[in-house]
């Protein structure tokens, strides 16, 4: 179609925004773990680390939200933060990962993937999406972009 170039550019910057959003989630994990380790900001090293991650996570979130709707961005940011903290908590602190928590992690990750796909559907392929279902339409919409 005539909008191919525009669509590709939009897709590329959208992909970049999602990468920045993932990064924001990683920083959020660092923040959560640092706050936990700082024990009410009484341990200096962890406290400094918490402040640094606090600035990084909000900066990356703000960059990502330039192109991603805030409702989606926040859910992904909080979701990655929760997954990362649950996975890394046992590594740094005296925590354990139970099967029930593992199941909820799978639910969150499934939701994150679903959101990424739902957010990638281009306007031009809306009709195809309605006719063929989400999966093929998403594939068709993003064939030109590496994912």
């Amino acid at each position: 179609m005539t909008t191919t170039t525009t669509a590709t550019t939009t897709t590329d910057s959208k992909t970049r925004s999602w990468l920045v959003l993932l990064l924001a989630g990683v920083f959020e994990v660092g923040y959560a773990l640092s706050v936990g380790g700082s024990e009410g900001f009484t341990v200096l090293g962890w406290s400094v680390s918490a402040v640094v991650f606090f600035l990084l996570t909000l900066y990356a979130l703000s960059v990502a939200l330039k192109r991603i709707d805030v409702g989606i961005g926040y859910a992904v940011w909080a979701g990655i933060g929760a997954v990362g903290a649950a996975l890394l908590g046992p590594v740094f602190f005296d925590e354990s990962l139970t099967p029930a928590r593992g199941l909820w992690l799978a639910v969150i990750i499934g939701g994150l993937v679903w959101l990424k796909l739902a957010d990638s559907v281009k306007v031009g392929s809306r009709k195809a999406a309605a006719g063929a279902g989400a999966e093929p339409a998403v594939g068709a919409a993003t064939t030109s972009s590496p994912r």
Binding site: F54, L55, S62, D69, V70, G73, Y74, T98, A118
Partner: protein, 106 residues
């Protein structure tokens, strides 16, 4: 009192989402300051609330109400209407975070 603290923490968390959008990658000074201040205030009141709340339950309420609130604020103030697929995805992720937090402290 802890419910009031939790409520304040939710309001500021929702504000952080709005402010971070307005700050456009920290290129707008005023919204950037508002984002950082909002984040600090939200964290402060959350930690106050969690002194008396069960940590898992308190955190679950905080994230879920804030997550839904941010969708509403995004629609009202940023004109971001979400289709059912995106809304469903947000519900799955937030539901997962709530389930994770309620399935026992790690």
């Amino acid at each position: 009192m802890s419910w009031v603290y939790l409520g304040i923490a939710v309001v500021f968390e929702v504000a952080v989402g709005l402010f971070a959008s307005k700050a456009k990658g920290f290129t707008h000074a005023g919204w950037t300051v508002a984002t950082l201040a909002g984040g600090a205030i939200a964290t402060f009141f959350l930690s106050l609330a969690l002194l008396t709340f069960d940590v898992g339950a308190g955190y679950a309420i905080w994230t879920s109400v804030a997550g839904v609130g941010i969708v509403i604020v995004g629609a009202l103030f940023l004109g971001q209407r979400l289709d059912w697929k995106k809304s469903l995805g947000i519900l799955i992720v937030i539901g997962g975070v709530v389930g994770l937090q309620l399935s026992g402290a790690a």
